[in-house]
Structures are given as structure tokens and as C-alpha cells.
């Protein structure tokens, strides 16, 4: 699993990259009450606005960490945004993307480096 400075995580699974937000991000944001996800089939570039989350406090953009096509989104967190707080690294994933340049994964931190960043 890789981590971005924007507090997102990326995990490679069957040649698809799954994207979500970190435990740290979900704690900082507080109770999440609204999630808007990209369309399946949408092509995104790195740093495009991919999703919006709103907590009780504020709205935040989720930037796409990698170029590619969105192949699946997690409707469960749209229906029940609290799932992101409950299980940010698991059931609270956001979207899956078929990457066009997998080497972009190398730009991101491993878990140890990320943990240092947030400590």
C-alpha cells in the first residue's frame, strides 16, 4: 500500500488501483456525512478532482493520485458515508482505477514514511 501527502492510500489489486483516504484523514475530518464519487468509465489525470467528501465541519476534494480510467466506485459509502470513518482502509474505499502509467505509484510514500509524516 502507498500513501500520498494528501492523505490518500493506493493499493494495487489484480492490475487495478484502489483509492481511499487514510485513517488519519478520516479522524481529522470528523464525521463524514456526504460523498460524491467519479463516474465509472471516466478518464482522470493525476491531480484531477475525483471525489468530494463533506464532514460535519467542511468539504474537501479528493484528488486522483494516478492517471487512468475509473472502473468501479464504492456506492456503499455514498449511501452510508459513515463507513469511511468506520473502516477507511477497507470497506470505506472510494474508487478503483485502471492505471495508464503504473510507474506513478513509485512517487508515493510507503507506510513507514507516511506514519512519520503524520506523527
Amino acid at each position: 500500500m502507498k500513501f500520498t501527502e494528501e492523505h490518500e492510500w493506493l493499493r494495487m489489486e489484480d492490475s487495478v488501483v484502489i483509492v481511499g483516504i487514510t485513517e488519519h484523514a478520516s479522524t481529522q475530518l470528523g464525521d463524514i456525512v456526504f460523498v460524491e464519487l467519479p463516474e465509472e468509465g471516466q478518464t482522470l489525470s493525476k491531480d484531477d478532482e475525483a471525489a468530494v467528501i463533506e464532514s460535519v465541519k467542511a468539504a474537501s476534494d479528493i484528488l486522483c493520485p494516478i492517471d487512468g480510467e475509473v472502473v468501479e466506485v464504492n456506492q456503499a459509502i455514498v449511501d452510508e458515508p459513515a463507513k469511511v470513518n468506520e473502516d477507511p482502509l477497507g470497506a470505506g474505499w472510494f474508487f478503483k482505477i485502471a492505471p495508464s502509467d503504473i510507474s506513478q505509484m513509485d512517487d508515493y510514500m510507503d507506510e513507514n514514511t507516511y506514519n512519520k509524516l503524520i506523527s
Binding site: G30, V33, F34, E36, V56, K57, A59, V78
Partner: protein
């Protein structure tokens, strides 16, 4: 955090309870505790929440007799002060010469004095306003040595009655001096959540022990400013500087009910011309509840349109967020009068998209006061 932020007497206790402290109107205040805004909000609606509202200004006005005091105070605001009975308090607001609102306040007839509670951000301005515009026969004293706690929710009476049984007999907006936790407390049956509850002015030295003894009760949790905001929003209550300000009139704000009939007729307060005119002819815009149809919160500053394509906005949101009790987003704001009727279908612009919203009656929840 900036060095010049003021800490309330409960600062250490907030830290002990794991509060996240933020700057608010010059004070360092708890915005939330570990359980988070959503749970704190629901706890207050279901049981009892304890709020530190010591940032609010507590002012005493004193003169030879209540009549003189009331006559002078009525020059600053459009409320009936003279006939307010001893031991009763009232919601009010200072108006400016343009008929806008300088601040909204609570004031109580305490026999030989009037007790005024003002918003934190307006303390200095309100103090100067009172000092400069009341005669020298009136003493205006800003209290620096008292904390203010609010205990709010359906269990508030039960909890506070364990400290003093007399609170059971208090009605909404009654004010009494009661010995609680070994200190002289000024207790009012009021609040800012739409729930039954009390506000307790307590000497600084006794504030922590009072808070601790209330928190010992299994029904009581500390609640931060985050939930205070969502509670008052659901209750349809105005936040000064957002929903009301120097430009909005009380009539536009839907606060006409707070201007008693004698004052509407006799006037004699700043901005009376506009206020009387708007009472007669109606205001050009009105504060309304705005219920988004979807799940996206529609926050302060979002513009309101009559249609998906209309060029010009017909209003704007002044407070908006998520309402945990309703489990939907809730907002309030101003729309031009022709669009202010309940059930009017409108659109709010959020991140460039026009989302359907509906004008609804305020409040969204409650109130659950003990009349």
C-alpha cells in the same frame, strides 16, 4: 495558537476531556471532544449536554430603580423592558440607526439590576455602546470573574435538580439565584439548542467543580462548539455575524415576534423607521429554512436561484451543514420575499452545480421547551 487568545476557567478541564481547542472570537474554545460532533449532537437531543459558553459576555446594568433602568435600556433596543417581571428574561437585540442588528442578546430583570448576556465577538462593541448611550446614572459593568455553563437536553432538569430541587419549578425564561456546588449561581431556563435546559452563571473559582459535578452524572457529556452550531441550526436559531448582522433587519430575519406590541407602536429605538415600515409593508427578503433534497450539505455563502438556468441569484445561504437529528443536510438563508413561501422549489449552487432545495418552516426540530 496565537498567544493573545483568552482561556476560559474550564480550559484545563477541556484538555483533560480530550477536547480539540480552536480559536473562536478571541477565545480558545473546545470545538469537539473525542466522541465527535455527530454523537455530541445526538447526545444533547437524547440526554444532556454540558457546554462551556464562558466566552459570552456577562454585563450588569444598575441604577436607582428598575423603572429608570428599563426606560433607558429601551432606548437601545425594540424590546419591552419596563413590564418584564422580576426573575424573567427575554431575547432581544440592539439595533443600529439603519434598522440592522448590532448584536442579539438575552436580558433579565433581576430586581435591582438588568443582567445581559452578549455574543463573544461583540463584547467590546456592546459594552461601549451601552456605556456611551446610557446616561451616567446607569452603571455598566462587564463581569470578568464569572464563567457561563449551559446544560441542555431532555435530562437537564433531572440532572440539575439533584443539585438544587428548585430548578424543577422554573419555567422557560425564568431566572433565579441558587446555591449550586457551593457557589452563588445565576440560573436561567434557556439555551441555544432548541432543547429544554439551563444556563448557569457561576463564579470563576467554582466553575470547574460545578462542571465536574455535572459531568459525574451518567447522562451528561461535554459538548463542543461544533455540535452547538448544528443544534442551533436545526432549532432555527440565528448565529450573529452569519444569519443576522448590521445590515439585516429583525423583520427580514423573522424576529418580529421578539418586538413587543407597545414598542412596535411607540418606537423610540434606533432604526425604528425601517423596522416599522417593514412591519407594515413587509421586507424585501426573508430568512427561511432551506432543505436540500439530496445529501450534499449546502453551506454558508451558497447562492440560491429560482431555476436551474436563472442568471441572477434570488438569495444566499447564511448557515448550512448537516443536521444529525434529521439525518439530512439543513440550511437557512435569505431569499427575496416572493420566493419565501413554504414549499417553494429553488436551487442552491454547490461547487458549480445547481442542486434542488425547498423552502421550509423553521425550526427543523423542536423546540422542546418547558413553558
Amino acid at each position: 495558537m496565537a498567544k493573545d487568545l483568552v482561556r476560559t476557567p474550564l480550559f484545563e478541564l477541556h484538555l483533560k476531556h480530550g477536547a480539540k481547542m480552536v480559536p473562536f472570537a478571541g477565545f480558545e474554545m473546545p470545538v469537539q471532544y473525542p466522541q465527535g460532533v455527530l454523537k455530541e449532537h445526538l447526545h444533547t437531543r437524547q440526554k444532556a449536554g454540558l457546554f462551556d459558553v464562558s466566552h459570552m459576555g456577562q454585563v450588569i446594568l444598575r441604577a436607582k430603580g428598575y423603572t429608570q433602568l428599563a426606560e433607558e435600556f429601551e432606548k437601545l433596543l425594540p424590546m419591552e423592558v419596563k413590564s418584564l417581571k422580576e426573575g424573567r428574561q427575554r431575547y432581544g437585540f440592539f439595533t443600529n440607526d439603519k434598522g440592522g442588528i448590532k448584536d442579539d442578546i438575552m436580558f433579565a430583570n433581576r430586581g435591582d439590576h438588568i443582567f445581559v448576556v452578549v455574543n463573544a465577538a461583540c463584547i467590546e462593541q456592546d459594552f461601549s455602546h451601552m456605556r456611551e448611550n446610557l446616561s451616567q446614572n446607569i452603571q455598566v459593568k462587564l463581569l470578568k470573574n464569572r464563567a457561563l455553563l449551559a446544560l441542555q437536553g431532555p435530562r437537564a432538569e433531572k440532572v440539575l435538580a439533584e443539585h438544587h430541587p428548585a430548578v424543577r419549578d422554573m419555567a422557560f425564561m425564568d431566572v433565579e439565584t441558587l446555591p449550586i456546588a457551593g457557589a452563588e449561581c445565576w440560573v436561567s431556563r434557556a439555551g441555544y439548542t432548541g432543547e429544554d435546559g439551563f444556563e448557569i452563571s457561576v463564579p470563576e473559582a467554582a466553575a470547574t467543580s460545578l462542571a465536574n459535578s455535572l459531568l459525574e452524572h451518567e447522562d451528561v457529556e461535554f459538548i463542543g462548539l461544533g455540535a452547538r452550531d448544528s443544534l442551533r441550526l436545526e432549532a432555527g436559531l440565528c448565529l450573529y455575524g452569519h444569519d443576522i448582522n448590521e445590515d439585516t433587519s429583525p423583520i427580514e430575519a423573522g424576529l418580529t415576534w421578539a418586538i413587543q406590541s407597545r414598542r412596535r407602536v411607540e418606537a423610540g429605538f434606533p432604526g425604528a423607521t425601517r423596522i416599522q415600515e417593514e412591519i407594515t409593508s413587509g421586507p424585501v427578503k426573508r430568512r427561511v429554512g432551506i432543505l436540500p433534497e439530496g445529501r450534499a450539505p449546502v453551506r454558508e455563502g451558497c447562492k440560491i436561484y429560482a431555476s436551474k438556468t436563472a442568471e441572477d441569484a434570488i438569495g444566499a445561504v447564511t448557515s448550512g451543514g448537516f443536521g444529525p437529528t434529521l439525518n439530512t443536510p439543513v440550511s437557512m438563508g435569505y431569499v427575496r420575499t416572493p420566493f419565501a413561501a413554504n414549499d417553494t422549489a429553488l436551487f442552491a449552487e454547490v461547487r458549480g452545480k445547481r442542486l434542488p432545495v425547498k423552502v421550509v418552516k423553521l425550526p427543523f426540530t423542536g423546540p422542546n421547551f418547558k413553558r
